[in-house]
Amino acid sequence: MAMAGDRGQAVPTPGITVVLPSILQPLAGGQSILTAPADRPVTVAELLDALTADYAVLARRLRDETGALRRFVNIYVDGDEVRRLQGLETEVSPGQEVLVIQSVAGG
C-alpha cells in the first residue's frame, strides 16, 4: 500500500476507510469499503456526512433524522465502539479504519 511520503511514488490523497456490512453494501453502489479523503482528524459524524452524501438511503439506515446513531448500529474505530469513546464526536485520523457492524439483536 502506498503511503504518503514514499519516495518515487505519487502521493495519494490520505483518507479514512469505512467498512460496511454486506447487508448495507447495495445502498453504497455495491461497495464494501468507502473511503473519505481526509488530511486531518475528523469526527465520526463528519465522516458519515461525507461518506453518505451521495447515498441518502444508507445515511438513513445508520442515523435517524436528528443525526443520532441508530440504537443497534455500532461503529468501531480501530476496534473500539464509539459509544465507549465520544460517540459521533469521536475523532478519527487518516489511516484509521472504521467498521460499521450491526448489533447481534432481535429474535
Binding site: L24, A56, R60, L62, E65, T66, A68, R70, F72, A105
Partner: protein
C-alpha cells in the same frame, strides 16, 4: 361470483414481524403468494391504493437495526421504491425522530393523490403525491395535550385515521390519548371522548387519555363511527360528540380490531379478547363478531376458524375488501391468516405459521 367481472381480482397483503407476504386470488379462496418481502423487517402498516388507475402497495417498514421507512410498489411487489430522503421525516425543529409507521390510509376517490399516515411518536402525516412524501400535521403535533399523552404497551402512536370522503372532517385515534377530531382538514384538533371510559385513570371519564384501540366509520350513516377500546366497544352518531356503549352481547368488551362494511349501514366486525388478565380469545375459542344493526346485537362467526386458539389479533391485523359480498380478513399473532368471502359467515385459512401478523389489508383490483 356476484358483482364481479373477470377483469377483477383480489390482493391480500400480510405484514408480519419478519416481513411482508402478498397474495392474489380470483375467487378469495385460492391464493397465490409471494414473499417474504423485506425479510427480517416488521411491517406494521400497509395501504393498498387502487386510485389513479393503478394498484400501489405502500408499506411501513421497520428494521430493528436500520430503522423505519416507507416503501411502495406499483407492480404487486416485484419492485419496491423508497424516496432517497425518506417519505416520512420529522422536521428539524421538532427534534423528533420517526420510530414506526402505524397507519397508511389512502384518502377518498375525490382526493386521488392524498394518503395519510399515523406514526410513533404520536403524529399524523399527509401526502399529496400518492404516498411518496408526507408532511407533518402541525396542528396535532403542536396540540397542548401532547405532553399528557402516554404510551401504551406497543408505543405511543396515532394508529387510526378516518377521513370524511366529502367534508374536511378527520378523526384520529391514538394510544393513549383517545379520539381527536378536526373539522378543518387537520388544521385544528379537539379531543372527542365523551362517554368513553378510561377506567385505568384516576378520573375514569377524562376529556382525553382514553386507550382507544381502533376506530372506523359507518360508510352509510354520516357522523356515525365505531370504536374498540381498551375495554369498551362504542358508537357515536353525532360525529364523536358523544359515545355510547354497544358492548352488550359480546363475550368480551376488549379487543383491538374494528372494521366497518364498505357500503352497508350498521355493519361492523370486532374480534373480542378476554382481558386484562388473559389477552386471548374467550375460552381459547377464536371468533369474529358482526353486528348488522349498529351494535344493537352481535352474531358470533367462527365457521372455519380453529378451536383452541391462544393468540390475539392486533388492531391492524384485520381488513375488509370492497367486493359484494364484502370479504373479511384477519391474522393472529400465531401467524395464521383467515379469509371470508361472505362477510364472515365462513372463513378459510389462507396462511399458517407465519411470524406474528401485524397488519392485513385486502383490495379488489383490476387485473392482477
Amino acid at each position: 361470483m356476484v358483482g364481479m367481472t373477470t377483469a377483477e381480482s383480489f390482493v391480500l397483503a400480510i405484514g408480519t414481524k419478519k416481513g411482508l407476504w402478498l397474495a392474489t386470488s380470483q375467487d378469495r379462496r385460492e391464493w397465490s403468494f409471494t414473499g417474504p418481502h423485506f425479510l427480517m423487517s416488521e411491517i406494521p402498516s400497509i395501504g393498498i391504493d387502487t386510485r389513479n388507475g393503478r394498484t400501489r402497495i405502500m408499506v411501513g417498514v421497520r428494521n430493528e437495526h436500520w430503522g423505519p421507512t416507507v416503501a411502495h410498489s406499483d407492480d404487486l411487489g416485484a419492485t419496491w421504491s423508497e424516496p432517497e430522503q425518506g417519505a416520512i421525516r420529522f422536521p428539524e425543529d421538532t427534534g423528533a425522530a420517526l420510530e414506526r409507521i402505524w397507519q397508511i390510509y389512502p384518502d377518498a376517490e375525490s382526493r386521488p393523490g392524498v394518503v395519510w399516515a399515523g406514526a410513533e411518536p404520536i403524529s399524523v402525516w399527509k401526502s399529496t403525491d400518492g404516498g411518496e412524501h408526507f408532511e407533518l400535521n402541525r396542528g396535532l403535533w403542536d396540540h397542548p395535550h401532547r405532553s399528557e399523552w402516554g404510551a401504551g404497551y406497543g408505543g405511543a402512536a396515532a394508529h387510526s385515521i378516518v377521513v370524511h370522503p366529502a367534508r374536511e372532517t378527520v378523526h384520529v385515534a391514538m394510544s393513549t390519548g383517545g379520539v381527536y377530531r378536526s373539522l378543518d382538514g387537520g388544521a385544528s384538533w379537539e379531543a372527542r371522548n365523551r362517554g368513553i371510559s378510561a377506567y385505568f385513570m384516576p378520573d375514569p371519564n377524562p376529556e382525553f387519555g382514553q386507550c382507544v384501540h381502533k376506530i372506523a366509520a359507518d360508510a352509510a350513516v354520516d357522523g356515525r363511527l365505531y370504536a374498540q377500546n381498551h375495554h369498551g366497544v362504542y358508537r357515536t352518531d353525532d360525529n364523536a360528540e358523544t359515545w355510547n356503549s354497544i358492548a352488550e352481547g359480546l363475550p368480551a368488551d376488549f379487543g383491538f380490531v374494528m372494521l366497518t362494511h364498505p357500503r352497508r349501514e350498521g355493519t361492523a366486525w370486532v374480534v373480542p379478547l378476554k382481558a386484562d388478565g388473559e389477552r386471548i380469545p374467550p375460552n381459547g375459542e377464536l371468533a369474529v363478531h358482526r353486528t348488522d344493526d349498529a351494535g344493537g346485537s352481535w352474531k358470533r362467526l367462527s365457521n372455519g376458524l380453529p378451536t383452541g386458539e391462544y393468540n390475539s389479533v392486533l388492531r391492524d391485523a384485520a381488513s375488509v375488501d370492497t367486493a359484494e359480498p364484502a370479504g373479511v380478513y384477519f391474522g393472529t399473532r400465531g401467524g395464521n391468516v383467515y379469509a371470508s368471502a361472505d362477510e364472515g359467515e365462513t372463513f378459510t385459512e389462507v396462511a399458517a405459521h407465519l411470524p406474528d401478523v401485524l397488519c392485513v389489508r385486502a383490495a379488489v383490483v383490476a387485473g392482477a
